[in-house]
Symmetry: C2
Subunit: 457 residues, 2 copies
Amino acid sequence: MNPQHIKPALLQFLSADEILEDASAWLTDQRSRYTGTADAVVQPKSVAAVRQLMRFCFENRIAVTPQGGNTGLCGAAVPEGGVLLNLSKLNRIRSINLADNAITVDAGAVLQTVQEGAAEAGRLFPLSLASEGSCQIGGNIACNAGGLNVLRYGTMRDLVLGLEVVLPNGELVSHLHPLHKNTTGYDLRHLFIGSEGTLGVITGATLKLFALPKTVETVWVGVDSIERAVELLTLVQGGFAERLCSFELVSRFALALSSDFSRIGQPVDAPWHILLELADSMESGGLGEELAEFLLAHGFDNAVAAQSETERQALWTLRENISASQRNLGASIKHDIAVPIENVAGFVADCETALQTAFSGINIVVFGHLGDGSLHYNTFLPGVLDNGVYEYEDAVNAVVYENVLACNGTVAAEHGIGIVKKQWLPSVRSAAEIALMRAVKAELDPRGIMNPGKLLP
Amino acid sequence: MNPQHIKPALLQFLSADEILEDASAWLTDQRSRYTGTADAVVQPKSVAAVRQLMRFCFENRIAVTPQGGNTGLCGAAVPEGGVLLNLSKLNRIRSINLADNAITVDAGAVLQTVQEGAAEAGRLFPLSLASEGSCQIGGNIACNAGGLNVLRYGTMRDLVLGLEVVLPNGELVSHLHPLHKNTTGYDLRHLFIGSEGTLGVITGATLKLFALPKTVETVWVGVDSIERAVELLTLVQGGFAERLCSFELVSRFALALSSDFSRIGQPVDAPWHILLELADSMESGGLGEELAEFLLAHGFDNAVAAQSETERQALWTLRENISASQRNLGASIKHDIAVPIENVAGFVADCETALQTAFSGINIVVFGHLGDGSLHYNTFLPGVLDNGVYEYEDAVNAVVYENVLACNGTVAAEHGIGIVKKQWLPSVRSAAEIALMRAVKAELDPRGIMNPGKLLP
């Protein structure tokens, strides 16, 4: 079909306000690294409209890129022509079911809206990440989002009970149920989770809910080494178990950046820092004291506990502002990696040595979710400005990923593959696995219209 | 290859004690419903031997049926000729990693051995089911086993971090890592979990560990209706949250059977019974009192709390002996179903009415895991003996499953599909989904040698 004819043809089944006039805001990714093109940008208001759209695009072999809040960090929602299918107007909470502890939502519901909807019903939806005010559930599912509470509640994959998906040919596959046990053949739900829009359009989901926390204790602990931080993690997991929600690692350098940027004093001085939070769904008056005694008894005496919600927010602001504060260092080459927790200390030491050898004077900002082994590992080349860093990207990545793989880690922990990491997929998946992925793709999307150019190398 | 030549040929790469002389014990399933045939029954002692076996069978187009402890309830491990590959001799705990809270084991490790290995390291492996003394981890994974603690810890699917699999052509796919965040293309681990030996041979797994419980409180509660039981569940999930491990439903009839069989008095008299257990990984002296007050405050006054481990075991024996006690009623047609918890009461009422209309005088034993919506729903036809019941199986199933599906439920909750339910798969999966399953199967097992005749209709 002639690209100019697409938009008029869409009016056969979409209303005028489901087709955007000025769509430029949706064509560039959050990092402003990629700008795509689209012959039409649509925001259908119903699953029925999504089905009609897919049937039309299937028949006419038009590429479709699904997009949620456009907060992805790997370029997976940047269109390469065809139709950009933005889910923002499919954004209702459909139902909450307390007996089954489950909530059913449209894919375009904003994460924070779902958190708030759950809270109004007296329940917790635990996924929490920096972009929660604008990212959408469908995107969270398509990327298997992680964030701050994975240690306790798992990634998005662990929170999905049922999915509603429109296949590339417009067919609906709907399993919006709250079943906790359901073993009926190969699990296809988990194929769509993390598929980054390449297999079909997620339009709805049934998600797990949990009890709201009634007691929260937050402590900032300074330690001499990552080894010592891992000791603390192991001890706290033994002693406080599922009450442990967050266990974040921050380097001295990262803390200094954030402290300057945030105008909040550093809680303690140390080479490495841990922000840990316990939460109990029951009133638990003694939990804070118990934690303080526990830390002292194990020699973690360089610690500050939040005495109020204001103090707690200040500690979290220090953690959350690291990303923003880095901008003062210039453009960076970022990595979203994970290694087994027992290997984190070795990885950080070895990778720094290797990078300094190859790129003398390189600045490295290390922080992340030590409790689940995933790190944000960002590198800054002194004097290299803006997009100039991307000339060095392949060379820096080669060093970082070589060290990650030597530690039995992964090149993509919680941001996905998208465009950015396609070429690295064969480093973590065998030829047989990639062949299977292609077979799955070919079966579901025989005309190759779903988000072409993403994920598969 | 002439079947008589298979056994001698295996000696090229298996030792004599890896090939069983008398294999009859492995050819019949636990329920003695199916007896299969095999040209050879092997118990390889290494992953390398499994790979050589698969290469040989691939080249010679010999069927292979993987088998663990042979405790499956749907016939999935009964061979239909070819090689029966029993994993019992691949049974080591390979390593325990406390920093990552993970244990790596051979597929043939017995579940109880893994539980005990974790406990020795001060951790809990939470999967728990009736056959835990003989079922194996590989079978638990292949069937996505459920059991008693799913409410808190999930099914086997939720407990697997990494898998090691030998593909039908002998190729090894190994991801034995404890990564909690790893989003690198379509998730193939979850395809193998629940695949019932039809895609490849699971040879090892890395599994999640948890803190050991330090406080356990167990209560038996009598209620007037299932609706009231669901109210209790919702209240306890709000008030005690993740401390709730088990929430089991038992009918008056099922309790009477088990009480007679167990020679243990009934704790309370009521139409419906709940066995609920809270566990806390911290010392929590007041938990039992808090629970007792909570029950009273919400009007659940027909309750007995275990005051000692002996009393706790007696309550659990009443629950666990239901299956055994049923044998006094004769042979039964069993169902392993799940429906949304909010629909359980309606399902039980409607299904009983429909069954009594179609099969006057039918006895129904209802019990199961109300906390996750899965029920064991067993039916006995008065005067029909032994395998004579199977003449009525299709007719009884038609009534039961019609009611399950009307409630948005599933015909297979935690036992899998195997041979028993193949014909029912299309009732819960669409044609597009089954086509995708076939495409996955064709890609991984192009010669159709893996566990032929199981799972796919």
